[in-house]
């Protein structure tokens, strides 16, 4: 079977989830990846949506974060203040899944404005949503975003959600309880924070991807780990499950 770069990205993200994890899921790719994981290697993955649905088990991919199928299949549906205050904030969630309009070398994320002037932005983005507190409080964060120099920037125009701030020690100094972004999964490969510098480094490429392509698509001088791994091909089971999930209802 052949596959698209988008499919590879989603499969790689799904594989990053462990069975039994409690996963705070945003709509779009994170939701697709989490649902794929639940239907392949992680049947006991607990999907938590910020609409208040805990343990949702949708048979088809939800189109919004508050689709009826999430409420109907959830173990519990709780009010929105409760999902943030009782479940996210105290660190009960293992993995938070985030997207980004911009992400920088320390994994800080911008989903607010493009441009230097917040009051007169070049592009007005949707804003924070649940992301700042997901980034702060989940045990770890996985970012899924397509690789491009416009997205992977030296420094984000606006810090909506904190990764490692300006480097090692910043999260502790800020009192953030979660570990921060552990993986950035793109259509080209996987980036992980360098243990010493906290700078995101290419540790894995998808099959057939030249690391030079990832460097070119990154707005900072992207370091490449010495033992660069190659993502195993998507299995036929992964691909067929993904395509079934994504088939329009």
């Amino acid at each position: 079977m052949t596959w698209s770069a988008d499919e590879m990205m989603t499969v790689a993200a799904a594989r990053a989830l462990r069975d039994g994890d409690r996963c705070f899921v945003g709509i779009g790719r994170p939701s697709t990846a989490a649902n794929l994981a639940r239907r392949t290697h992680a049947p006991n993955l607990v999907l938590i949506y910020e609409s208040g649905t805990i343990g949702a088990k949708p048979a088809t991919l939800p189109l919004s974060i508050g689709d009826g199928v999430l409420a109907e299949t959830a173990d519990a549906v709780v009010p929105v203040p409760e999902i943030f205050n009782y479940w996210l904030q105290p660190g009960r969630i293992d993995v938070g899944f985030l997207g980004a309009a911009q992400i920088d070398r320390y994994g800080n994320i911008n989903t607010t404005v493009i441009g230097d002037d917040y009051r007169d932005p070049r592009v007005r983005l949707p804003g924070a949503g649940g992301a700042p507190e997901i980034a702060a409080s989940c045990r770890e964060v996985i970012v899924i975003v397509k690789h491009s120099p416009r997205t992977f920037v030296e420094r984000v125009d606006f810090v909506t959600s904190v990764g490692y701030g300006s480097g090692p020690g910043d999260r502790a100094r800020l009192g953030l309880t979660g570990r921060g972004p552990a993986l950035v999964i793109t259509d080209l490969g996987v980036l992980e924070p360098d243990p010493d510098t906290a700078e995101f480094t290419l540790t894995q490429v998808h099959p057939g991807v030249d690391p030079a392509a990832a460097k070119e698509a990154t707005g900072w001088p992207l370091a490449v780990t010495a033992e660069l791994r190659v993502t195993p091909d998507p299995s036929p089971a992964e691909l067929s499950t993904l395509r079934l999930l994504e088939r329009p209802a």
């Binding site: 609409s51 508050g66 804003g127 649940g130 904190v162």
Partner: protein, 272 residues
């Protein structure tokens, strides 16, 4: 209290120019018909509050109702941007739009503070982000027991809180189920409130997951079947995903939007 009224009557009574108005509903049970009635009644200079301004707020902003938006995520969910919102923020069309921006956790806690009669709420939030520099509504607060520094946000107490729900009984007690978001909080935080419902029934039989708002905690109840469209009311309707998709093209262009507004809202027969 819990007075049953028509939608136009309730909006005329509650929503005045310059008021602070929150229409809530987290994907589910969004009071869209009430937003259209506010547009039809020509309200201006509103401070609109909503965690997730989506199509109905894009419409209200494009129609010129709003002076300010207090929010945490402004987009067309699953589709993309809100073009009327962006046009107002960037180009002041049809009127300049001031923004007060928070995270979901911050907004939810601001409603909770409002509902509980406290002037502020405390959360772990915003630390290290660029949001606090852009508003006076995010401040540090120190725990008097441990010395730890946390974040405070001020209460939201809108003049009017509006939500949609599945049902009410003839006494005006409201019942809703499924994803209820901040429905209870916004009604309790607001000075006055309106709940539009799919139907008014003789008796609210108990249901799993149902939340009840007693009649005396609600100002007006209006029967507006389909009043959440294009969002949905679990047990009554499905989300109209095509509408969300179609909105992108309609809203991209000022002329297309204005034509849509004339045809579909302004000339619309008010729901009764």
């Amino acid at each position: 209290m819990g007075v049953i009224a028509s939608l136009p009557e309730a909006i005329a009574e509650l929503v005045r120019d310059g008021a602070t108005v929150a229409l809530e509903g987290f994907t589910h049970l969004i009071p869209v018909a009430a937003g259209h009635e506010i547009i039809r009644q020509g309200r201006r200079d509103l401070t609109l509050v909503r965690m997730t301004p989506d199509i109905v707020y894009d419409e209200m902003i494009g129609a010129g109702c709003a002076r300010k938006l207090i929010f945490s995520w402004a987009g067309n969910p699953g589709v993309g941007s809100l073009h009327r919102f962006r046009d107002a923020v960037r180009h002041g069309w049809p009127a300049p739009l001031e923004i007060e921006e928070h995270s979901h956790a911050g907004m939810a806690n601001r409603y909770v503070a409002g509902a509980t009669g406290l002037p502020f709420a405390v959360l772990r939030g915003y630390v290290g982000t660029d949001l606090p520099a852009q508003t006076t509504t995010i401040k540090p607060i120190t725990c008097p027991f441990t010395g730890e520094v946390l974040t405070a946000v001020p209460a939201l107490n809108p003049d009017v809180g509006i939500v949609h729900a599945q049902r009410a009984d003839r006494a005006g007690n409201v019942q809703m189920w499924g994803i209820t978001g901040v429905h209870k909080e916004v009604v309790l935080a607001s000075r006055h409130s309106l709940v539009t419902v799919e139907e008014i029934v003789d008796h609210l039989d108990p249901r799993p997951g149902a939340v009840i708002l007693p009649s005396w905690a609600v100002t007006f109840v209006a029967e507006v079947p389909g009043g959440a469209h294009p969002s949905y009311a679990m047990g009554y309707s499905e989300r109209d995903n095509d509408y969300y998709q179609a909105w992108d093209a309609i809203s991209r262009d000022r002329e297309a939007f204005s034509a849509w507004l004339r045809e579909r809202v302004l000339s619309g027969v008010p729901a009764t």
